[in-house]
Symmetry: C2
Subunit: 141 residues, 2 copies
């Protein structure tokens, strides 16, 4: 079976070793329908008796986050969560009911940032935009 998992592809491309634990974590992440926490993966690894250590899960998430293959969200509740995503710069719309998220492109934010630079005098190097609401599916149900 081919390694179709884009997380593994990203790891390999960056010269990280494709170890068994990393494959397992990538599989766990690929199985998540919605956003997930490190604790979710730890619990899932435990119930599947994968024998993966907690530290390894955190480390793998760190690596994947640094590659942009996974992104860390700050939910309005204050909790952290992760979502698998494409590496290009983008933002997330997160459904606050089912937790599914969707990547969205820049969508005119660039102009907003430029306006703010002009009005505030700040040089803006980085930003984070997270959007929360109901996905089309949860809207109707």
């Amino acid at each position: 079976m081919v390694d179709a998992n884009p997380l593994l592809v990203a790891l390999e491309r960056e010269g990280y070793r494709l170890t068994e634990p990393r494959r397992a974590v990538a599989r766990l992440i690929a199985d998540q329908a919605a956003h997930f926490s490190a604790a979710d993966l730890v619990a899932e690894a435990r119930t599947q008796r994968l024998g993966i250590g907690r530290a390894t899960i955190f480390r793998t998430l760190d690596v994947l986050a640094s590659l942009g293959a996974v992104e860390r969200l700050d939910l309005p509740s204050g909790d952290h969560a992760y979502v698998a995503c494409e590496a290009a710069h983008h933002h997330h719309v997160v459904c606050s009911r089912c937790g599914r998220s969707r990547d969205v492109a820049d969508a005119g934010l660039r102009n907003v940032v430029r306006d703010l630079e002009r009005t505030t005098g700040y040089r803006i190097d980085d930003h984070r935009l997270e959007l929360f609401g109901l996905c089309p599916n949860c809207r109707v149900n």
Copy 2:
């Protein structure tokens, strides 16, 4: 001396008691030039020998955050920080060198959100935008 501190005004308006510890925390917050963490306040309270418990500082920050008089930031580093601010909806531009932040108004983001609602089908109820860069002062120094 009059209670000019807007944090205390907000507390009183909402029916919270103006206790000595709360006044002290409000004073500490008002003294912060840049964003600050709960730990900063705890340390400051300690060095000033104010005799305020850690729990009280967290509780007061919670209350103030629920009133919108203080807002919680998620820095790019992953740390949390607080800033005092006005209660109206707005965003923060944070200087990544000196930590000073500035409130900015909506700045066209409303249109961006509306566009995203149309293109994604999500109903967007809430969003969070944080901007990081260099303030005018740090740009030139």
